[in-house]
Symmetry: C2
Subunit: 461 residues, 2 copies
């Protein structure tokens, strides 16, 4: 294959976007970082396009000169998705961050990929609508789509898969494709929207999204309670799901996470496993659901049930949950995190969590556990000294056994963080024949392998 002609490509890019092509060391370093344990990997250049046409031309230039091109939202992904591991151009979407059109009657909105979920919801506030997907980090909507993100509200509102109606995508040859329509459903051919959601920039760069919105709930009630052990908490949630109680969020944190949160946020949670729950609906429905929930968890030994009906108390509760990752990181100075993300059928969740806890307890590194118990998805945050290769090796071995356990239980290596580089080694075990099929699709849509090479598909690509 032709070798990349880096200099020719950079000259062409410079002519296209001038000052918005950056080669400053600080900028390259910033776009070579990730929030996880991967080494810093700066790209050759960072491009800041203003519109779809520029993105299309950037990709065309990269195609002509065989240069890798990698999308960048806010850099909050956990599996090294946005690292330019073969060099090339990082396309930073931070200037493409506008709400293009809100259509309250249709409960949808069109946005550019660089807008963050918090900025979007701020702009939607007056409409009575909101975008519910909440991965914790204030990620960009484009990045959330590219990694098929979900988070605390997926149990009620679904993941990015369920909340994107259509996309505009720049393909590997620079063509601009629009997928989906603004209709609520369609049976018109292959679901290219779903194919792009979770493709991690390996099939195209998302330049516009049409999102499904939801009505802001009339009433919200949130609560927290402690359990003597993890199994009881999980069994309580299983019962609540079986009852059909529509929880908007149902989160689990273990005793180690409670301790980290206490230290970081000045809280005083008992050092036990906790459930955090939230209901959305009418005043009467929310009150009824909270009561039923309280009765069910009490049967499983829940203690100290505390309801937060005031917005201020609720915000405190979820800020605490969202900061749990940072609280855990802060609980051991100078460490990086190997973050795990397995998801299993609900019926196997208790055993998956308990086996993981035992495994971590027998290791030399700390690994608090927290997760989205309503989806069967949880994370162990394995804290490693990045200067200590044996700790990184131990964390990877723990992570490896977690994935093996998840697959044996009928689950997945990654519930919401995606593949990137960190989960590449498990794709064959999880997908079998499906993995080379993903490679076939990649080759069909990106024959030159310029779109985020080294991620997601078999390495031969």
């Amino acid at each position: 294959m032709t070798q990349p002609d880096r200099d020719a490509a950079l000259n062409a890019l410079k002519s296209l976007i001038g000052q918005r092509l950056s080669t400053s060391k600080s900028d390259l370093d910033l776009h070579g970082q990730s929030e996880s344990y991967f080494p810093v990997t700066p790209p050759d250049v960072v491009a800041y396009p203003d519109n779809t046409e520029e993105v299309a031309q950037i990709v065309s230039i990269c195609a002509t000169h065989r240069l890798p091109v990698v999308g960048w939202g806010t850099g909050t992904s956990l599996e090294g998705h946005a690292l330019a591991v073969r060099g090339g151009v990082v396309v930073d979407f931070s200037r493409m961050n506008r709400v293009l059109e809100v259509r309250p009657e249709d409960m949808d909105v069109s946005v550019q990929p660089g807008i963050t979920r918090e900025a979007l919801n701020e702009e939607l506030r007056a409409t009575g609508l909101f975008f519910p997907v909440d991965p914790g980090a204030n990620a960009s909507i484009g990045g959330m789509a590219a990694t098929r993100a979900s988070g605390t509200t997926a149990v009620r509102y679904g993941t990015m898969r369920d909340n994107v109606l259509g996309l505009e995508v720049v393909l590997a040859d620079g063509r601009v494709m629009r997928t989906g329509t603004r209709a609520r459903k369609s049976a018109a051919g292959y679901d290219l929207t779903a194919l792009m959601i979770g493709s991690e920039g390996t099939l195209g760069l998302i330049t516009e999204l049409t999102l499904r919105l939801h009505g802001q709930p009339e009433a919200i009630s949130a609560g927290v309670c402690a359990f003597s052990d993890m199994g009881s908490a999980v069994r309580a949630v299983t019962d609540v799901i079986q009852m059909g109680l529509p929880m908007a969020r149902i989160e689990f944190v273990d005793a180690a996470t409670a301790a980290a949160v206490n230290a970081y946020s000045g809280m005083a949670f008992p050092l036990k496993p906790h459930l955090l729950v939230e209901f959305h609906g009418s005043d009467s429905a929310v009150a009824e659901q909270a009561e039923t929930f309280g009765e069910i968890v009490a049967e499983h030994g829940a203690e100290g049930f505390d309801w937060a009906t005031r917005a201020e108390d609720r915000n405190k509760l979820w800020t605490m949950r969202h900061n749990a990752y940072y609280a855990i990181l802060a609980s051991r100075k100078g460490t990086r995190a190997v973050v795990t993300d397995i998801c299993v059928p609900i019926s196997r969740l208790a055993e998956a969590v308990e086996a993981t806890q035992q495994d971590i307890a027998a290791s030399a590194i700390p690994g608090p556990i927290l997760g989205h118990v309503g989806d069967g998805n949880f994370h162990a945050i394995l804290l490693v000294d990045e200067a200590n290769p044996s700790e990184i090796a131990e964390a990877k071995a723990l992570s490896h056994r977690m994935v093996e356990r998840a697959l044996a239980l009928g689950g997945t290596a990654t519930g919401e963080h995606g593949v990137g580089m960190g989960k590449l080694d498990y794709m064959e075990a999880e997908h079998g024949v499906g993995w080379p099929v993903m490679g076939d699709i990649k080759r069909a849509l990106d024959p030159l392998n310029i779109l985020n090479p080294g991620k997601l598909v078999p390495p031969s690509n």
Copy 2:
């Protein structure tokens, strides 16, 4: 390309499944029919496999001898999906119709593709769970997945896209691929499940499905009311959706449909547009929702509101709705139907329906309208004398203008019936760049073009 070696293929198939390979004229004719206006197109043979391994071997034989292979469920599709337009083997899944495993704790079930939705729900009855997708016809689950079916309950429970967790698929070279897991969500690579849902047998044959189940509602309430005009009915529904009222079904029939139903089912509906609605939930929630619904539609001039809380009355109501297609067919003797299926953003539904009604009124053929108003999806059933080419031409012209209107309003040519042959001509207009991309995917996964050739993708395939 190598020419199909029909005789060699048939001999190999005969050795494989013996008596379960049929060449009887009646069987071939039966599998050459559709429920719509397409001419009878018998295949060369019909195969009745018993298991996945046999399906894989059938496809391998077809690959070796370049013979087309087309899946068949119950033959209820409306766009000619299962017609072997280039000859070859129809694979009839009627013997692969078992429930493989129900897992009530995880609220999921694994089934073979030949089971019908009614048979599945019959088997689930004692579990307290049900599979909600309801296209009206008692279709096979495999066929419903292949066409991305939906129907009356999609407004609450989603389409097949939302209710299939994973698939087993026989690929074009005979390999068996498993997609998805039993976890509720996953971010592990391309969404091959979603890619297969709605691929209409052009990328693989579905041999097993894992489906998401839902709790049977504690209470159900259904009702029907009349409106003076279609616009009022649609505006009423828009208001109800904006209120966030969780309707389980919300259906629309026009005055012509009401007349056909009266004649066919011995009902006495006023000859006006009607809404049919259903709520699922707790006793108190359903009662509250029904009351709120009644208030909102009354503001839009709804008349003669009639609530059916007894199961018997509800069944009568929905049987009537499900039989509406046959009632309409029976309203003009000796006719076939050209069925349309556009879906538009809710805000544009009233104008789409009204423009369609005017267009049909100005034509020489009848075309009652009914649809899934909560999704923005409706059907005009254009009744044509199949011996009269000018009627078929007029119906196709009406259908063509409906699709043009839908696309101009930001909608789709097909909300739930799929592409098959009937909507092939609109794919380029709807998808633009996306259509050749679908062709690229098809070529990557079925390079010999043996899987349901002549459907869905660009004809060069």
